[in-house]
């Protein structure tokens, strides 16, 4: 996007002071850059949505797509495909991508660990375990998985947080991460036992686990949406806390931030966002890992409100782009969005690393 970024924030974070050029000019330039990034991200998202509605296994002319949206004819197959298949998966992708990306920003911020992804708190493992158990007990629709996955995710996060609180140091980022990984290992053991003894469950679960937007109906959204909205509101409210926490717990406390409470608030938002996203599209944690890095490179690391805003736009763009590409790769079949996301996102991550502009 921009080749040089003189006003990009210093690695050490803190206030965007640029001693040489004078503070006002530096901040103004940073602001212009951020606004440009947001506008660009908005355009990208609009493009991704349009592509998601227009392209797929069935060839439908853009004019037809438009008519299907504004003036549908009952019984027209093209209109049916657009309204019943493409619109739902586009909306689900929007919500899921945004929630994963926001959860990623929060988690990387609160743990101060650039490799934290939404799987960190055991959320993905908990959701997966719940879905496996549900399948083994006879559930077989995405609609049934949603509730199991959400319940599993929330329960897992609670258990992890509780276990981490037992430790002498309290739920610090490191204990949380370790306990989260330990819990994930436990859950994975249980999942593997079921999958190795029950072929039918493995057959169902493997396609859920890679993560996909296919076969999602609009009915999935209303029950999940309130949690996502609440999560985003909490996230925006907690953004200044994350800015302070980036300086270290002690400095944050000295600045008047109540560290424990702030962290709990952020984690609550993560659970709501990530639980919703996993239940909608499966454990596509990579969106939550790579998008925050991209956002940090574009708008700087030290203002979490901008980071959140940009990530909320880029997350769904990535997920929808992956979904569209997956549809076009091998029609009439498709490659799951969760697989394509890694193929799209990994090179981006490697390029960011290569440029040496990893900010955390």
């Amino acid at each position: 996007m921009t080749t040089t970024a003189p006003a990009a924030p210093a690695r050490t974070s803190g206030a965007p002071v640029t001693p040489q050029t004078g503070e006002s000019e530096g901040t103004a330039r940073l602001r212009r850059r951020r606004v440009a990034v947001v506008v660009g991200a908005l355009l990208l998202l609009a493009l991704a949505c349009a592509a998601s509605l227009a392209w797929g296994a069935r060839d439908i002319a853009p004019g037809q797509v438009w008519r299907a949206l504004v003036d549908p004819v009952a019984g027209d197959n093209d209109h049916l495909v657009v309204r019943d298949l493409r619109v739902p998966r586009t909306l689900v992708g929007l919500v899921g991508g945004a929630a994963f990306a926001a959860a990623g920003v929060l988690l990387q911020g609160v743990t101060r660990n650039p490799i934290a992804d939404p799987g960190l708190l055991g959320i993905n493992a908990g959701a997966s375990l719940a879905v496996v158990v549900a399948i083994a007990l006879g559930a077989s629709s995405i609609g049934a998985y949603v509730w199991c996955a959400f319940a599993g995710a929330v329960l897992a996060a609670l258990v992890v947080h509780l276990a981490a609180s037992l430790s002498g140091d309290g739920p610090t980022p490191v204990t949380l991460a370790l306990v989260g990984a330990a819990f994930s290992a436990l859950a994975t053991s249980a999942i593997t036992v079921v999958l190795l003894t029950d072929q039918r469950t493995l057959g169902e679960f493997r396609s859920w686990q890679v993560g996909s937007l296919a076969n999602r109906s609009l009915d999935l959204l209303p029950p999940v949406l309130p949690f996502v909205v609440l999560g985003v509101v909490l996230a925006v409210a907690a953004a200044p806390v994350l800015d302070a926490l980036a300086l270290g717990d002690d400095v944050a406390a000295a600045l008047g931030v109540r560290v424990g409470r702030g962290r709990a608030l952020v984690l609550l938002a993560v659970v709501l966002l990530c639980g919703s996203a996993v239940s909608l599209v499966g454990p596509i944690a990579f969106v939550g890992l790579v998008v925050p890095h991209l956002a940090r490179m574009l708008v700087g690391a030290h203002d979490h409100r901008w980071l959140l805003g940009v990530s909320l736009l880029l997350g769904p763009s990535l997920l929808l782009a992956a979904d569209v590409i997956g549809r076009l790769l091998a029609p009439p079949g498709e490659v799951e969005a969760g697989l394509v996301v890694a193929v799209l996102g990994a090179p981006v991550l490697l390029a960011i690393v290569r440029r040496g502009r990893v900010l955390a």
Binding site: S167, A185, T192, L339, V343, G345, V353
Partner: protein, 337 residues
């Protein structure tokens, strides 16, 4: 942590505890080994096992030396390799979450091995070779991306994650498009299992570790200093990027070798070092202790998997279920110092 400055004052207690921890771990390894050789369809006493080991001919000899010993020895080697590998990654990259899974080694090995199984239809040694190749390839890729006039831990870890997800999606693609029975076989391999143990496998893995582990021991002092930060380490005469580069290289090779032999046994590489460090309690990386914890974890889990559970499950299922509570308990027990 800063051993240099405070060593004279705290040396005796520190040394005592370190010795006790190491001795305790070795004792545990031997005790588990004894159990592993005794238990089975044909139950033996300690005396029979010892007799068989020193060369008494008889039925016990075959059972112990040909059937049970290779499996236990393979478990020891695999546990050692994963334990040391995890400790190398976590200390050199200064990230408690770093492990062969996070750096993509497990996923690279899995992608290659699963492709061999599901696309090529081959198993056994072909999978072993493919897994080793896949793991090493990931290591090469890591250096290609992360190396830029030396490298920081951050760059290694992030490159590793990118590669891990990439290889993981290859695995996911293969798994979702294969026959369910084949997928189950692939899953068994990816969980980690000592099922294909043999003296031949031990003869391949053993010499590899004989070369790699002494090299890791050479790095121990440098890693110790790296804990103080790159600048301090440099001022004390260690080039941080060389220590880190060497540690990651050895970690990748150790993990690849162990994964090739037994699959990416879950959780061992991740948990061994944190468990060892909390047992030692002095802030040192504890490469040897991590290796020993890895051995106990793998061999004890295999005893449980083979003899205590109603069905025969791959060892990787038990390592996760056994290691996780231990780690959580150790974290919970620690009081703020």
């Amino acid at each position: 942590m800063s051993v240099v400055a405070i060593a004279p004052l705290r040396l005796p207690a520190r040394v005592l505890r370190r010795t006790a921890v190491h001795a305790g771990l070795v004792a545990a390894v031997l005790a588990v080994g004894c159990l592993a050789l005794m238990l089975g369809d044909y139950r033996l006493t300690v005396g029979q096992v010892l007799g068989a080991l020193v060369g008494d001919p008889g039925p016990a000899h075959f059972v112990v030396v040909e059937l049970r010993a290779p499996r236990w020895v393979l478990g020891v080697l695999v546990g050692l390799a994963f334990g040391v590998s995890g400790a190398l990654f976590q200390t050199s990259l200064r990230n408690p979450l770093a492990s062969p899974d996070v750096l993509g080694v497990s996923q690279g090995a899995s992608a290659a091995a699963v492709a061999t199984l599901l696309v090529g239809g081959a198993s056994g040694w072909a999978m072993t070779a493919a897994a080793a190749g896949g793991g090493v390839l990931v290591g090469v890729l890591l250096y290609a991306v992360a190396w830029k006039q030396g490298t920081t831990g951050q760059r290694f870890v992030l490159s590793g994650i990118g590669v891990a997800y990439l290889a993981g999606s290859v695995v996911g693609y293969l798994l979702t498009r294969s026959d369910v029975r084949d997928a189950q076989a692939a899953l068994t391999w990816m969980t980690g299992s000592l099922g294909q143990s043999s003296w031949q496998l031990v003869q391949v893995l053993g010499p590899v570790l004989l070369v790699l582990l002494p090299l890791a021991a050479l790095l121990a002092r440098g890693l110790d200093l790296l804990q103080l930060g790159d600048d301090r380490a440099a001022s004390l005469g260690r080039r941080p990027e060389v220590v880190r580069g060497g540690a990651v290289l050895l970690g990748v090779l150790l993990a690849s070798a162990a994964t090739a032999a037994a699959g990416p046994v879950a959780f061992v590489a991740f948990a061994a070092a944190p468990i060892a460090r909390r047992l030692l309690g002095d802030g040192t990386p504890g490469l040897a202790a991590s290796g020993l914890v890895g051995v106990v974890l793998v061999t004890a889990s295999d005893v449980v998997a083979q003899h205590l559970l109603p069905v025969d499950v791959p060892v990787g299922i038990v390592t996760g279920a056994l290691g996780a509570p231990v780690l959580i308990w150790l974290l919970a027990r620690r009081r703020t110092s």
